[in-house]
């Protein structure tokens, strides 16, 4: 029985990956756009490293954490949009007529997102190393970064799946994009929280969970092994994943009505 479940997950994960790979825009855009923003921001804000108290003398190293989270946001959109298309085209209803287990569908879908997340993380680390960023946490830090990228991709991918299952509309999923962007921009993305001068902005960045996801990745790059940043980052990512997967599972069971 377990083997059958595994096969179902693998088949759907493969379908998810192949479908993404067949749409170059879905592969290239999530990879290239965060790198473009990284180039623009690190070039434009390099002089900010001369501010007293700035934690590194390379804004590129400081900002390298951002693509990891941005890439996960794009993964959310892609996963949600693909699943919504399955709902709109009736694929999900046809699947409901087969012995396929609902949880296999979700796991398969997230498997595709996870694969994309790992590819993105490897590209971002590779580009960072190529342009001269040295990870303070060393080679082991790269493994931790990959583990974090997997966790964040699954969590955000499940959020996208939840949105798709709840609304059944690709446009509604795309409508979440600005909301995610708000979370990203109102975080410690471009400036350490202690250097944000505007009180209300610093408060918003402090209560914004995305700040801690970014700071977790950033700590591995510019600090080394910061237990607090890692615990907060992994803890928040795990909490998002648990909540999102639970919500997606509940929505899936009500969506997959078998007669």
């Amino acid at each position: 029985m377990r083997g059958v479940f595994g096969d179902q997950v693998l088949l759907l994960a493969r379908r998810s990956v192949v479908r993404t790979a067949r749409q170059p825009a879905n592969v290239v855009f999530p990879l290239v756009f965060p790198l473009l923003l990284l180039a623009v921001n690190s070039g434009g804000l390099d002089s900010a490293t001369s501010l007293p108290g700035f934690p590194t003398d390379s804004f590129l190293a400081f900002a390298l954490a951002i693509p990891f989270i941005q890439g996960a946001l794009f993964a959310t959109m892609n996963a949600g949009t693909d699943l919504a298309r399955d709902i709109q085209t009736g694929f999900l209803n046809r699947l409901a007529l087969t012995p396929m287990r609902g949880v296999a569908l979700l796991a398969g879908q997230l498997g595709g997102v996870l694969t994309m997340g790992v590819i993105q993380a490897l590209v971002y680390v590779g580009v960072g190393l190529l342009v001269g960023v040295r990870l303070e946490s060393g080679p082991l830090g790269i493994l931790v970064l990959l583990a974090f990228a997997i966790l964040v991709s699954v969590g955000f991918g499940a959020l996208g799946a939840f949105a798709a299952l709840r609304t059944g509309s690709g446009e509604a999923v795309q409508g979440l994009f600005p909301l995610f962007f708000v979370f990203l921009f109102l975080s410690s993305m471009n400036m350490p929280r202690n250097l944000i001068e505007i009180d209300w902005f610093r408060f918003v960045a402090t209560v914004n969970p995305v700040s801690y996801l970014i700071e977790c990745v950033r700590s591995l790059i510019i600090v080394g092994w910061d237990t607090e940043a890692l615990a907060l980052g992994f803890g928040i990512a795990a909490a998002i994943t648990v909540v999102a997967v639970t919500l997606a599972s509940v929505s899936l069971s009500s969506r997959l009505t078998r007669s």
Partner: protein
């Protein structure tokens, strides 16, 4: 006269579509406000970087960028509408019905401009409420907004050229990405003099740098290189007018 009547009809229809549809109107209003909040709020300490000298402050420094960015993206968003019109078949019927088809391009440009003026008004009010300092007088401010108007027209002409050649919503990234890159390869966060390395080289040759730096100098009340900025903006608009009209001819040939 025929051109004008076609332009007015196209502009009225486009504006009615935008202003009666919140999903089309709100992003072009909210995104500039959001960028303004994120940049002016989150990065205000950048004003403390040694060598940063902009007397009205960082809020005003970022306001000019966001104002010009909203002008450019106001044009791009209207370009999306042109692509949507082609996908739905409306634009083809429009090509058949219009006695003078150049009026179609002009109509979309008028709509883009009207749409941006609303965004610019909201953005300005929010910036003033947030305490933005203004050093320039009425003539300086008029020149700043005039630069925005020309940039808006250049952007809609660029976007309509793309939309009329490709005639699909999938052309969206091709309209958006070049404008995005041209804007962000200008001195967004600090003045040109404080940029270093490759970004300084790129920004130096980026025509939008002249527009942005002149805009900031106008808001500060110490105009510099304003004539060059207007020349660049007019050149962009004239070049993209040719691009848009040729795009229209391409759409006509496609039927």
């Amino acid at each position: 006269m025929r051109t004008l009547s076609v332009a007015v009809a196209v502009a009225s229809r486009t504006l009615r579509t935008v202003f009666t549809n919140p999903s089309l109107l709100l992003p072009s209003l909210i995104f500039p406000l959001f960028f303004f909040t994120a940049f002016a709020g989150g990065l205000s300490s950048v004003a403390g970087v040694p060598g940063f000298d902009f007397p009205p402050g960082y809020t005003a420094f970022q306001f000019v960028f966001v104002l010009l960015q909203s002008a450019a993206f106001g044009g791009v968003f209207t370009g999306f509408g042109i692509a949507r019109d082609f996908e739905s078949g409306f634009a083809r019927r429009l090509l058949l019905a219009a006695p003078n088809r150049t009026g179609i391009v002009l109509g979309y440009a008028i709509a883009a401009l009207a749409r941006w003026l609303v965004t610019a008004a909201v953005l300005t009010i929010v910036a003033l409420v947030a305490g933005m300092q203004v050093g320039g007088g009425p003539v300086d401010l008029f020149a700043l907004y005039a630069l925005g108007v020309i940039l808006n027209i250049a952007a809609i002409l660029f976007a309509s050229g793309v939309a009329m050649r490709l005639r699909t919503m999938q052309a969206g990234p091709l309209m958006q990405m070049p404008v995005f890159l041209a804007l962000f390869f200008a001195p967004v966060y600090v003045p040109l003099a404080l940029l270093e390395g490759w970004i300084h080289a790129v920004a130096t040759f980026n025509p939008l740098t002249r527009v942005l730096e002149a805009g900031r100098s106008l808001l500060a009340g110490s105009p510099t290189e304003v004539a060059i900025a207007f020349a660049v903006a007019f050149a962009l608009a004239a070049g993209f007018w040719l691009w848009a009209v040729r795009g229209l001819r391409s759409a006509e040939r496609a039927g």
